[in-house]
Symmetry: C2
Amino acid sequence: MNIKTNRSPLDRETIVARAIEIADEEGVTALTMRSLARRLGYEVMSLYNHIANKGELISLMVDEVAAEVEISSQGPDPLTDVRRMAISMREALVRHPWAPPLWQRELPRAAQVERMEHLLGLLAASTLSPDLAHHGFHAVNNHVLGYTLQELEMTIAIGTESELAAKTQTFLEGLSPEDHPHAIAHIHQHIAGDTSSSFELVLDLILDGLVRLNDE
Amino acid sequence: MNIKTNRSPLDRETIVARAIEIADEEGVTALTMRSLARRLGYEVMSLYNHIANKGELISLMVDEVAAEVEISSQGPDPLTDVRRMAISMREALVRHPWAPPLWQRELPRAAQVERMEHLLGLLAASTLSPDLAHHGFHAVNNHVLGYTLQELEMTIAIGTESELAAKTQTFLEGLSPEDHPHAIAHIHQHIAGDTSSSFELVLDLILDGLVRLNDE
DNA sequence: ACCTGAACACCGTTCAAGT
DNA sequence: ACCTGAACACCGTTCAAGT
């Protein structure tokens, strides 16, 4: 009796879905071909019948996160839709904290291309010049990615997880108030602060700046 | 005769320096404890007499890059110095393309803290409100990091390296002009474009936006 | 105090063999 | 066509032994 029951048939889609589960629950470092196979109820080598290698797996996982980004097109004007997509992208990235560092390591796949195409379309439909639309695409993209990336690192280091919070605490105590007053104040602002409003503040700053530059 | 000649004595400083050499020349993936030991002329295990583990090594390497960022304070006004530091930071990151993805994975070390302290000091000395100074720190930081990160990925994927350029070429050909006109145009803009002027354009957009928001 | 040989517990991946 | 046992070539790291 070789056939194990209670296991779904193996295909790319379910492999990627389980891989995302592991990464969400236990972090990317816990995602190995072996741990993935174990969760699926198959042997490691079976995975290679459906994906070329781990790099392809990760690329597929990232594209699945990209697919969660809302394609917005109902706004009163194109830049409002750009704004909504930026917020939706941040939400998707926060849902999958392992994704930001891997976001653009491979060439974009289907969902990523779709998101990119739509975002560029919105910018082209706006009042922005082609040149500013190009810069705007990257400015928005980088802001979302950079902000989320740093926010997640900060949350990991400072958040309520007692173990790492202690590490940060000893770090903070290592800073002398006379030598590093601003750094100390900055970290305290973080512990008290509301990050998501700060995200939108800078996002609007960028969008407004683009429009202003365009109208000059 | 156990003593090998022609090798510098082992210490943290030279270990980190050689590690950076390997990463610069052959990429981070080529940096293993074994390859590092080989370059130093020692055995692998000797490294552990000077550094705790590979994580600490990488953290030390990143701090060395942070030390290359110019601490600017001669400008006509504080925000000009902020601008200069942002440009200097980008230059340091471009010099060490492996650094951006690792930039804030660990708690900041001495040089990183110094850079942070000075940057925050400049923002505090500017006309910006404490709140906007806080947001400004992250906006500038994220822009530099995000922009450099995406620029480096793009360069790797699109640059003159024939092998990967071909990969991008087939990717481009996979996009149909009727379905993805904007994406195709965007990539062509990249191949032709001047990235470093775009970096400064968005940087100024952010700095001007902060001042404007502050003066409202 | 610093260096190192041997070994351990992992990785991703290949290949030939099974059904 | 898909699954898998055994094996390979790597990792980072530990520990006891050397000097």
